[in-house]
């Protein structure tokens, strides 16, 4: 099914007699049901006011179209959404609805916030086929409950997004990145923390153990970037040799898209932790390959197919999500971290109210 308008989509959902898999561009690796409801027919930017830092687009609008429109005005999606195609081996065109539904954020999340922090409003069709709106297109809005946040990262289980409204930000004039050669993950996280604790507004803090460098990004106006880079060199001088990276834009695009894992075999996990817990958790993972982002708070791990990473980690503060694997592993382990019984009851209760017939992406979020 591929509706062309919101009204058509609402009518289709109301008339559904079987569960559906909701698909934007199909690049985020959600498999399962054969019956598919595609949102890519709902496409186009409906409003863009650079002076108000706001953009509204239909859910099926390609991310590339939005990024091009922003680029023309010197602006950007500050939460730096990941392009999952290389990592997951998917094809297709990433859509803004998919980004929102999965709350996809890249390296700048550590400083600027996640996709959900930039989402100002949504329109969606719930499981009964009703069109619902929440939030709007203004930056501050506490009128009623914030269903906007609830929809972000709900993976289509509470409703099918039809339109999203986003806060955008100026694109920085200059970018610089420092690489600090560190001995191990423990030193790396300490270096990243030291930089993030500084007043120098670090907008990326990653560590690739294979490469051995803690990487720190600074963005803004040229003079300011030059100043803060120098200050950071001083702050980090005790952690190891520091070099400046020659092509920071490409480096961070590769980190964003987890480039070092591309074409490599096995399952890929994404683990959100308290940053200083990362070195200890890394040792428990016994992973073939890892990559740290968000100052250590985000661990990407590649392990042999079917490995039960959650039992290897044991009890920890955070959550581990299976990003790439075979269907049987999803069935055995679950894509998302199991919740406490209290939270699970709330989640089930919400799904039962938003989608009483259980037809929107059943089985996806537990």
């Amino acid at each position: 099914m591929k509706p062309e308008t919101e009204a058509e989509l609402a009518e289709m959902v109301a008339g559904l007699s079987e569960p559906m898999r909701i698909v934007g561009g199909g690049t985020r690796g959600v498999d399962g049901l054969e019956a598919v409801l595609e949102t890519s027919g709902l496409s186009g930017i409906t409003l863009y006011e650079p002076g108000a830092l706001t953009l509204v687009a239909q859910a099926g609008t390609p991310v590339a179209e939005i990024e091009a429109a922003l680029e023309a005005e010197g602006q950007q999606l500050a939460f730096e959404p990941i392009d999952h195609r290389g990592l997951l081996g998917t094809s297709g065109t990433p859509t803004i609805g998919g980004v929102v539904a999965a709350n996809i954020s890249g390296p700048r999340r550590i400083q600027a916030g996640a996709c959900r922090d930039f989402l100002l409003g949504v329109r969606y069709v719930d499981g009964m086929g009703q069109v619902i709106k929440n939030g709007g297109r203004v930056m501050k809005n506490v009128t009623g409950y914030d269903l906007v946040k609830l929809m972000a990262g709900s993976w289509g289980t509470l409703g099918v997004l039809t339109e999203v409204s986003l806060k955008v930000l100026p694109k920085p004039e200059a970018v610089a990145t420092l690489g600090v050669h560190v001995a191990d993950a423990g030193d790396a996280v300490q270096a990243l923390s030291a930089a993030l604790k500084s007043p120098f507004e670090v907008s990326g803090a990653a560590y690739d153990p294979q490469d051995g460098r803690a990487l720190l990004r600074v963005e803004g106006f040229s003079d300011s970037v030059a100043y803060r880079t120098e200050q950071l060199k001083f702050t980090l001088s005790g952690f190891g040799e520091i070099t400046e990276v020659s092509d920071p834009v490409e480096l961070w695009r590769n980190l964003r898209d987890v480039r070092p894992f591309h074409g490599q075999e096995g399952d890929v996990w994404r683990i959100s932790v308290k940053p200083t817990d990362a070195p200890e958790i890394l040792t428990r993972l016994e992973a073939d390959q890892t990559l740290l982002d968000w100052g250590g708070g985000l661990i990407w791990a590649r392990v042999p197919e079917g490995s039960d990473l959650r039992s290897r980690i044991g009890v920890f503060e955070g959550h581990a999500t299976l990003v790439r694997t075979e269907a049987k592993t999803v069935e055995a382990l679950g894509r998302f971290q199991p919740e406490s019984s209290g939270i699970e009851a709330l989640t089930k209760g919400l799904r039962a109210r938003f989608d009483p017939r259980g037809i929107l992406n059943p089985g996806l979020m537990g």
């Binding site: 409950y145 914030d146 269903l147 308290k274």
Partner: protein, 482 residues
Amino acid sequence: MEMPRPNPEILARKQAVLSRLLQVLPEDAVIHDPAETRAYECDALTAYRCPPMLAVLPSNTQEVSDVLRICHDEGVPVVPRGSGTSLAGGALPTADCVILGVARMNEVLETDYDNRFIRVQTGRTNLSVTGAVEEEDFFYAPDPSSQLACAIAGNIAMNSGGAHCLKYGVTTNNLLGVKMVMMDGSVVEIGGAHLDAGGLDLLGVICGSEGQLGVVTEATLRILRKPEGARPVLMGFDDNEVAGQCVSDIIKSGILPVAIEFMDTLCIKACENFAHAGYPDCHALLIVEVEGSEAEIDDQLSKIIEIARRHNPVELRESQSAEESAKIWLGRKSAFGAMGQMNDYMCLDGTIPVSSLPEVLRRIGELSAEYGLPVGNVFHAGDGNMHPLILFDANKPGDLEKCEAFGADILKLCVDVGGCLTGEHGVGIEKRDLMSHQYTPADLEAQMAVKDVFDPKWLLNPAKVFPLDASESRRDVRIAAE
């Protein structure tokens, strides 16, 4: 403003409820004498008052859980209260309710600079969260004007903002985790020192739910390193429209100031008399603040001043010292108090798309003439969050009603130009009946469904947020169930 009639069956059981509460709380934590419960009869929306049946002041999560379990059991509505600074009547009691005040829970539980968070009990005041980390040069970013008094619990309930959220975001963008007691007394923990939810973003919907989904007793908050410095510049213009255009041009230039504040003539005069900040005598005043090192500030301000010059300002003045900056901000943050010295006032906080600013200000001026009530405008211009302050005389019969009708017209105007009823104060009782102007019945039903899941008996702060007729059947279930 209508409130539901108190349930006589609950009132009749006051003694029984009281004795059960006394079994789980120390005697001094249960307030039952009508002379003392009066202290809780209103919040900062003082036009509406009603003493609660009882008030309790628990000291920890266990006590909150015990209180809620008992009230759930007894079918007694509970109105949570932070510091009582709500301008929307969020903590207004009903005569048959128990006020649950979190003021005694004000401990710092953990500070972690390496991971950049602080964990506090939610009765702690906003400013004292920053106070707890200031020694290490850190701060908690959301800064509502009431930050000296307002509690984190209330900030979370209302998703409070402040002057500096153009850069740092509002409460929801700085809240990492909560410990929350559900109406049945069970305790859930959501989020923490790690980023983003594993499953549904329940934290996102709890923040701003006006105490209707649970009572948050502990919060993990993001703390940030203070910038090296900050400096405001004052810009005066002869015309609101020109000031609005200047704001838009600054934003489009790629500079992101931490704050862009706007005041009109009436507010400028009131604040100047109050704070002696040296505000110019003009139609529209902008305070634009940037942060960074001295050189970075100079660089950004020179770019901003260049943009402002193109709009022929009548005044353009950079702050020359920390003392002057403090005065400039004192004036702005005292705006409500300064206006309050002139007369009674009602403060609104509708938000509009920045591009509609001139049109909305013009229309407010016309409405002011029609209603015969003066309005001062002070607001966060960078994000379109308006604060029209309508002056009226509470002792003059009919003035309050006229003021409310005027306020409702302004808020409808905000919605009609693509904005919303409230940007940071919350709906409470004040904007409850206007919700149907912004949302369809299905939109409201979707929100109320969330409350159904969290609080099936509709006992937590039940008469707020949703129009009474929209929530009536749900609240009736509560009474029928007695």
